[in-house]
Amino acid sequence: MNTWVILGAIVALVLMRLRKPSMLTWAAAWWVAMFAIVRYGFTVPVPISVVKLYMGLITAGLVAYVLTDEERIEQVCQPVLAFMTQKRFQLPLLATMLAIPALFAWSIYAGMTRDPQAPAFARTVHPAPPDEITVHDNTVSIGTADNPYRALEETDPEAFGARLANGREVYYANCFYCHGDIMAGEGMYAHALNPIPTSFQDPGTIAMLREAFLFWRIAKGAPGLPEEGGPWASAMPAWESFLTEEEMWNVVLFLYEFTGHRPRAVEEHH
């Protein structure tokens, strides 16, 4: 939310109310304030099509509000009629009558000469995993499997450390070119990928997931994504062709260790 835009719109409306505006000005002010909030009030921009939809609803609402009362109709119509008929408004009227069609013509021109936009595809951050996957003839249940080596963290720190070291080697032999040294998706090839590699530092990624989910994404890569969960042009390889199961589980340990995140299931045990 963009607090300043919203506060500004509310303050402007309140100030205006105190000055007892005419019904037309009041309705117009509401329309502008609503537009400002819908268009600029959100940190993540609302798509133009959605803005249009909302403004259509708001316009209909304002029209309905005006039409429910004869006095309001009169208040709105009077200045409009005066603008159209009185002599002192002749020049502004002429200008308005030319400006409106010119605006439409310009929007047609802009639409027809716009550079083509590559088709955009939605990215599913956490695509729905299958119940189980088969990796190197072993079946792994995504819903229930835990990292088989996670327990070592408490039972045998030395063995756990050795697995982390192996995970680190696997990461730097295979992953860091894209996912980066900082694991923020900033590897030296990240700029050349479309879609860009996932940031593991982002609290919305691996911190929200169980280790078996990561194992699935690593083992099956982009080719293993379900039909209903993109990105379908992802360059993520199916690493099961190149890595052992142990190496994949080890690199999962390393991802959590390096970023300081905890996998979801383990946190729930505490």
Binding site: Q78, L81, A82, M84, T85, Q86, K87, L93, M97, L98, I100, P101, F104, A105, W106, I108, Y109, M112, T113, D115, P116, Q117, A118, P119, F121, N166, R168, E169, Y172, A173, N174, F176, Y177, G180, D181, I182, A184, E186, G187, M188, Y189, H191, A192, L193, N194, A222, P223, E227, G230, W232, A233, A235, P237, S241, F242, T244, E246, E247, N250, F258
Partner: protein, 603 residues
């Protein structure tokens, strides 16, 4: 954190009794971290180093980390005290600020990322710099060096840059390595090695966004003045007057279209094919392409499947496209250090496995790695266990982490190929090549074929042009394992190499029954591969791109004027009708009823 300054501060604050505990806490928070302790705490520096730096630069700072085999240029050996980007004259140590700058901004297009404040705080950075310096005895032995002063830059003048700048560039000998037009194709470019005898690639001066030391005017002036220690790039501070260094700087910027406010790669994500009514003749197509908008796409190494290419030669390719009712044509341009027009190339050539190369280079051994039993490893040396059936390995006695090319013939130590000693300058075993990749059929849903030569369900077609031949080939890929000669229409090709740039024109019928058709006003996924024969790239060892989009503009681009006029006059007429009606009603009412009304004035 162990900061001695905190205790001092605590003592001093507690002496001021009337301010009490709150002020003490505040004092620690505000001043504790800003005391002289920062930049001296080697232990804190080591913690940061071990987490973020040791993977590449090694636990001992010798540049031999676990990631080193995958990186060219190699991570810097800090024990040498040689730092690439400095503000100090050639031969001197860098300042602390120089080291900090490199850590903060990184080196673009290398394995050195930018570590910003959200990853390494200013305090941690100071400690890290101290720790990194502790690897080289020279820092303790020598006085801190004085940085050069960079004079006020003269105004940039394209005319001056392209004449005087070029003159100084040439007379200084920059072209010998960087090439006359700065494309990294100077005559000696293929022979260059750094102080550790590792081959280095000459900077392509037309791409300032790839400059290690930064691509602004000031950055380039500094690099020109102080050079890159440890590499063949000399510093000209003291050797050339500042105005000459500015002239060369500006010539370099002129090559890439002048100085930019922000140095950013001008990459596109869609290329638009211009419609034309003319016949497309590749032998005389330069005029046809003059109006087609160029799009630059980034390339990267094929680092996944066997034949892994960790240091491909090409990092970008420019494409233009035109089409008429019958045909579609593409113009591809990329920079190449040297044209390889002899030898062979094809997308299905076998490439030795990476682990084979590593193992023979002695960079990794099975004993070191309790989990990486080579027999289980598809990249491993054991061909029988290799799912990709990589039989080429046996013939090649390779010790080359990028490929297999260590010079059986030359007996040298040249990772670049055969030409290092100039004995085989005419070209080697493998020719340069390029390929356009399209899905064989337009994707019906959202899923595209896997970008590395397609997949079993979604085949791709490759329009392949081997620079050793004057005819194109068609290949069909169903994954890296299954690249076979294609069966649909062959594209035509014309290629040429000049001043460090390959220019390749390709065309084919616009529609096809067994391969993809290019329909006006539609988007078609497009991807690229570039093979540098000199870098011994062939088969799956190559530079490649992700999927991007090709858009065919309408065959006849309609003029926007008629619909604009229609909308304008239509709406205007409607307005006149409304206003006229309102006025007519008012007038009638005013004359009909003589009562006073506001509308009466209007008439």
């Amino acid at each position: 954190m162990r900061v001695p300054g905190r205790q001092d501060c605590g003592r001093c604050c507690s002496g001021v009794r009337w301010m009490g505990a709150l002020v003490l806490v505040l004092g620690v928070a505000l001043f504790g971290t800003a005391t002289a302790a920062r930049g001296q705490d080697l232990e804190s520096g080591k913690v940061t180093y071990d987490k973020y730096c040791a993977q590449c630069h090694g636990d001992e700072g010798d540049g031999q980390g676990i990631a080193t085999p995958y990186l060219r240029p190699e991570p810097r050996d800090f024990t040498s005290g040689k730092y690439k980007v400095r503000t100090t004259p050639t031969g001197l140590l860098p300042t602390d600020a120089d080291i900090s700058r490199t850590i903060r901004l990184g080196f673009p297009y290398t394995g050195m990322p930018a570590f910003r404040e959200n990853v390494i705080t200013d305090g941690e950075l100071a400690d890290l710099v101290a720790y990194v310096k502790s690897f080289a005895p020279a820092f303790a032995e020598q006085e801190p060096p004085e940085p050069i002063t960079i004079p006020q830059p003269p105004p940039y003048d394209p005319e001056h840059a392209s004449t005087k700048g070029r003159e100084v560039y040439e007379s200084t000998g920059c072209g010998a390595c960087h090439g006359t037009l700065g494309r990294g194709n100077g005559a000696s470019a293929p022979t260059l090695v750094d102080d550790w005898n590792v081959p280095v690639r000459v900077a392509d001066l037309t791409k300032p966004w790839t400059f290690r030391g930064g691509g602004t005017r000031i950055d380039i002036f500094r690099t020109m003045s102080t050079g890159f220690a440890g590499t063949p790039m000399p510093g000209f501070h003291g050797a050339l007057p500042p105005e000459d260094i500015w002239a060369i700087t500006d010539y370099m910027l002129w090559l890439s279209g002048g100085p930019q406010e922000r140095v950013e790669a001008p990459y596109s994500n869609v290329v638009t094919a211009r419609a034309t009514s003319e016949v497309i003749d590749l032998a005389a197509a330069e005029d046809l392409f003059a109006d087609a908008p160029p799009a630059l796409f980034p390339l990267f190494g094929q680092i996944v499947e066997p034949g892994r290419s960790f240091y491909p030669a090409a990092n970008a390719i420019q494409i233009q496209a035109v089409y008429n009712r019958d045909e579609i044509a593409f113009r591809l341009v990329w920079h190449d250090m040297r044209a390889e027009t002899a030898g062979v190339n094809a997308p299905d050539l076998a490439v030795p496995s990476w682990n084979e190369q590593l193992a023979e280079a002695g960079a990794s051994s099975a004993e070191d790695d309790p989990w990486g039993a080579p027999a289980d490893d598809p990249w491993g040396a054991d061909a029988a266990e290799d799912p990709w059936g990589d039989d080429a390995v046996d013939e090649e006695a390779a010790a080359d982490p990028w490929g297999d090319d260590v010079v059986d013939e030359d007996g040298g130590d040249d990772f670049w190929g055969e030409a290092g000693d100039g004995s085989d300058a005419a070209g080697g075993e493998f020719s340069d090549a390029v390929a356009l990749q399209f899905p064989q059929q337009a994707p019906e849903g959202v899923r595209k074929p896997y970008f590395i030569f397609g997949d079993a369900q979604n085949p791709v077609d490759l329009w392949f042009a081997d620079m050793a031949k004057q005819e194109a080939e068609l290949w069909t890929g169903r994954g890296s394992l299954a690249v076979v000669p294609g069966e649909s229409e062959l594209p035509e090709v014309v290629s040429s190499y000049e001043d460090g740039a390959w220019v390749v024109l390709m065309k084919r019928a616009r529609t096809s029954r067994s391969s993809i058709s290019f329909e006006p006003e539609s988007f078609v996924p497009i991807a690229f591969s570039v093979w540098d024969g000199f870098n011994r790239e062939r088969g799956n060892k190559r530079a490649l791109s992700a999927w991007w989009d090709l858009y065919l503009e309408p065959l006849e681009r309609p003029s926007p004027l008629p619909p604009m006029a229609k909308a304008f006059f239509g709406i205007l007429a409607l307005e006149i009708l409304i206003v006229g009606f309102v006025r007519w009603r008012r007038r009638r009412r005013a004359t009909g009823a003589t009562t006073e009304s506001p509308a009466a004035q209007a008439a």
